[in-house]
Point group: none
Chain length 249, copies 2
DNA sequence: GTAAGTTTTGCAATATCCTGCAATATTTAT
DNA sequence: ATAAATATTGCAGGATATTGCAAAACTTAC
């Protein structure tokens, strides 16, 4: 069997299944795992797939690269994202935060809305690239490893230029008294500027984020206009926020 | 048996089976494997198939929609990208242009190099995101539809801050007298700033780009340090550039 | 931490490829 | 038609590539 036959089969399975395992290919093709491993390495060098531990996954630049991480997003966040869409009106200027929640909103955004989107998130930008009526303004800066967002002074200076209608803010922790907090200093700084640059703040938070706190302060709770969660129970926690004048959705 | 008969049969089997083996053809046609090998070599030179170890496969495989439509992922550009890698040394500051050629370089970049990369290209940034020792500085700005790069004043102002060692510049057109040109005004402006901000310019251009011109001027030809092409024929065009003090690779 | 699984590296066995050469077939020039 | 030039073919060898194995280094999950 030619090496190229193996290549083709590997790539075909990859297109079909979105993943391949070393062990499976080894038995299927009757060669050692080492050989498959070397094949995958070679294909990866050509940029035709991405080698990962135990196998390989498709690898093409553009939006598809983010599919993996979006996949293990929960139903909760889907619910939140759908609710968030209702707050976006045509011709608004919207700041998209870099978190996964905001990415989901970008993913679900209908193709026909007219928006100006400001973001520091690569997934958001690439997802919106093909929306004909969405102008994307991307905040440059230093690329933060493992999170596909830019941070740093350049990012902040860029964001300061805007006066957006809405900011979609992914929330790590929120507490009625301690306010919104984040576990990463530089991200917290960026979030703070996003908030300063927006009239209304839409917070996206799964219920377990409510009434928790992290190390770095972002903004007081009453700066938020709306908190969108996946459940709408009428429990104590909700009353606290409602009394602060925040709309729960 | 005529050589041409063998050729026909080899190509027929190739269309039918998507592969041929040296051994199989040898017994089938009653000639030595060496003869088949030479036949295949000759057919490969005519571009009618691709010679591989142990046999041959079709030159442009049928159901291989895997090749990106974003990247015109031709062998030419692969060759160019590989050559370009040799110019990148550890601890340099490198500006990556947004074109497909530069993306391929990013794709092929080994994981262990230490670099600071400045770019306005989303694919370049996301590809390098997982390189542990590559710091990515992304130029913000307006996202240009259908090309995954940022453009505009913000992009330009960001790029102006740097004094890079090298700029990897994808070339649309180059002409010894008319210089480097581009078909898109805003992209040409960005390229111009990238050049201003770099000491050495490495131009990435397939041979058919040589001695052609487009509407928007980027820089004079002798501003380039190296032109990397997929072929290194010693023809007239090359001499022109060499006489300008440009290294051809 | 440990243990299980995975990747990397070096190595040896095998297969394939390239080169030069000699024998034969084919073409060309006279 | 004949000799010389050219092309084709098979073969021997040394060079190169591929493959599987095993030990060591590394990851991951618990």
């Amino acid at each position: 069997m030619l090496k190229e036959e193996r290549f083709r089969l590997i790539l075909d399975r990859l297109v079909h299944d979105q993943k391949v395992y070393l062990a499976g290919l080894s038995t299927l093709l009757n060669v050692s795992e080492d050989t498959i491993r070397r094949d995958i390495k070679e294909l990866a060098e050509q940029g035709l797939l991405k080698s990962v531990r135990g196998g390989a996954v498709p690898h093409s630049p553009g939006p598809h690269r983010f599919k993996d991480r979006i996949l293990h997003d929960t139903e909760q966040k889907q619910i939140i994202a759908k609710k968030a869409l209702e707050f976006l009106k045509d011709d608004q200027v919207v700041i998209f935060d870099g978190g996964t929640s905001a990415v989901l909103v970008a993913q679900l955004l209908p193709k026909d809305v007219h928006l100006t989107v400001v973001t520091n998130s690569f997934p958001v930008a690439t997802l919106l690239e093909e929306h004909e009526h969405v102008e994307v303004l991307f905040a440059g800066g230093r690329l933060l490893k493992n999170s596909f967002v830019t941070i740093g002074n350049d990012t902040i200076q860029f964001l300061k230029k805007f006066r957006a209608d809405i900011c979609l803010l992914g929330i790590c922790s929120i507490h009625a008294e301690l306010g919104v907090t984040s576990p990463n200093f530089e991200e917290s700084e960026v979030k703070r500027v996003m908030i300063e640059s927006s009239k209304e703040i839409i917070a996206l938070a799964t219920v377990e984020k409510l009434e928790t706190a992290e190390a770095y302060y972002v903004c007081p709770t009453d700066r938020l206009s709306v908190i969108i969660t996946d459940q709408l129970a009428e429990d104590e926690a909700f009353k606290v926020y409602t009394e602060l004048g925040i709309k729960m959705a």
